[in-house]
Symmetry: none
Subunit: 217 residues, 4 copies
């Protein structure tokens, strides 16, 4: 029998988002989307609020009805995608827990590049933000990329530590492993962003192969 008894009269209250609110979200999302593109295309420092508004098809004032200022707009963007990315990683690591180390790393790398392929503009912003001095123009956003970088870094550290303890990885200079792996990952992402070579899953697999087994014959 259906839970919605025909007699019962309280309409299934669920997601009745009021119309106004739906519009609001639509617009906020459109603005965020334009911002993501413009930030990625023009670079964090040449991305002007006017450009973002224009691309979103709204007036500047409208943009400011949704985001307190340019900084807040970037911060919102970085945070939303950052949360998503971290969640993917946690999921990937969890789902591969207990499996062979190669599987675990593979899951990690795949999670990274799946997200990358789906959100290239975000990655461009993120990678730029890693080294650029943002404190001046984006006081609140400045700390966010490194925040998420740390989260991811720690997950990787844990993974490597367990592998070292299980004698699956050599112990010498084990503290470098996260840096080396992430360095290679970043490099493939940059390779793709610079239009040298579109990323393919086999590249990720090869990355893991090299990391674990080396490139030598």
């Amino acid at each position: 029998m259906s839970r919605r008894s025909p007699v019962a009269s309280v309409p299934p209250v669920a997601p009745v988002v009021p119309l106004r609110e739906r519009f609001r979200r639509e617009v906020a999302s459109a603005i965020a989307g334009s911002a993501e593109e413009v930030f990625a295309e023009q670079g964090l420092h040449s991305a002007h609020v006017g450009d973002i508004a224009r691309r979103a098809g709204v007036a500047v004032g409208t943009l400011y009805n949704y985001y307190e200022d340019r900084d807040a707009l970037l911060a919102a963007l970085l945070r939303e995608r950052g949360e998503e990315l971290v969640a993917r990683f946690e999921q990937a690591i969890a789902s591969a827990a207990g499996k062979a180390l190669k599987k675990q790393l593979g899951a990690f790398v795949d999670a990274y590049f799946d997200f990358f392929v789906a959100h290239r503009p975000y990655f461009k912003i993120l990678l730029e933000g890693e080294l650029t001095q943002l404190q001046d123009s984006y006081p609140r956003s400045a700390a966010i990329p490194s925040h998420y970088h740390q989260l991811i870094f720690r997950q990787l550290e844990g993974l490597f530590q367990r592998a070292v303890e299980a004698r699956q990885l050599r112990v010498a200079h084990a503290d470098l492993y996260p840096w080396l792996l992430l360095g290679m990952m970043r490099s493939l992402a940059v390779c793709d962003l610079r239009k040298h070579k579109t990323y393919e899953p086999s590249s990720g697999a090869q990355l893991v192969n090299v990391f674990l087994g080396g490139a030598a014959v």
Copy 2:
């Protein structure tokens, strides 16, 4: 009698730099030095001409007597150090030519990090410039980092190609090797610049070990 004897004897070697000219170079060099520091400390977009001049101990106007504009100043900087860096690489590769692959890579990596340790500010600029959109603020400088990146990349490509042909490296996805190696190198540099861990030569050795032999036991 004129000093310019018609017969002979413009001293062929010593390039007798006139005093005036020596001064010029002194000043130009002081300005470039300050620029390097300021660009590195403040980031490419927050480095103001005024700051650079102040640190060099000259007036802004003076700076403009030596460099056409901010872009030209950065370009000069990037070019000078870039030439130097490429030269080091050529030398390293040449000196290791014919030796074992590990030696060759070691020489390459060492050349990179020796230069890095000697010129951290330059690397900070270079790494920032790799991903930041410079076209707007620095139209002429924008292409320079990637120019030198390419030169280095090609040297590495050649090295790897020869190793592949000599069956020293696995052939599958060999085109990724330069990206992977440079990615790890960059990552260790960033690790140092971010004050996580000062670079030590053993790290470079470990990097080569992992690249060739893998991290797995």
Copy 3:
């Protein structure tokens, strides 16, 4: 049968305000009240339409249904209270007509401060408006404070002129009397508004004493 009997009896007095209209006035009045507070608290130039609407519990759009623009809102406010104030003065002067000069002035001063105590926010606005340049932001309101000031001033002038003619006041510089008296009154009001000392009727009496008899022993 229709309720509107053809025969008679539209009650001749009570100006039967239709319900709809009564609502309108209610809302208009609520808005004006909020405006009075906000104008007083934030100052004429930092009082934003949005704040006023929010405090009144209506949307900005609603506010604009009742008042043509910000200027009109302020003007309405100034006019309404201004009329009231002038009426009080007329009444005070009329009721004291023929009495001793001291009584007359006492009535005048009391009328002023009674109104002040009942309407501090209005006075804050009024006093601010006396010297601030309003022409730009409030073209229509700008003239209103001085209009009522003039009305009051003239009443006082008349009062003084009669007293001078009756040889109750010294004639020299008699034209200054209204300025001097109003200046002292304003000053006590400001003293209260600035939270130095809450106004008490005895202060008004003392003011009259000083004005008529001087402060000297």
Copy 4:
């Protein structure tokens, strides 16, 4: 005999202000002057930086080379004139110390109006600043008028207290005396600023007469 002995050769070192510096002061002063006028004419809130610069005959950027921001410009103005005004008061009170009360008050009032006549625009600004909410637009300037007001107020309080102790003034409500006197003074100033009647010294004398002896016959 002249102090500049023809023999002595150290040039009388005094005020050799370098040329550059003299120009700087000239410009700073021109800007401050324009600011004073514009602030007075347009009112504190409609005085735009652009207007000030234009009237001073410089570009906006120039203005910002001399004053950190609009607030700083106003603050400098208020402070400079404020210091001057307070000094005049101190001098006036000191020079009249020990004389009859009427002389003392006369000196005080004269000092006020002498300064007023010489600096009407400043007074307009000052009087406007007394009641306008400046905190938002001029965070640093906001406190300055009341600061100087306090200084002057205290001088007057002291003067009155001594007079009360010497039984020269009635003791009842003596705390109101500064408010009443300053209120009348302000009122005459406003009367002049509003173009009703240009201030004349006899008005000040009359003010003191009324304050001490009352207006009544």
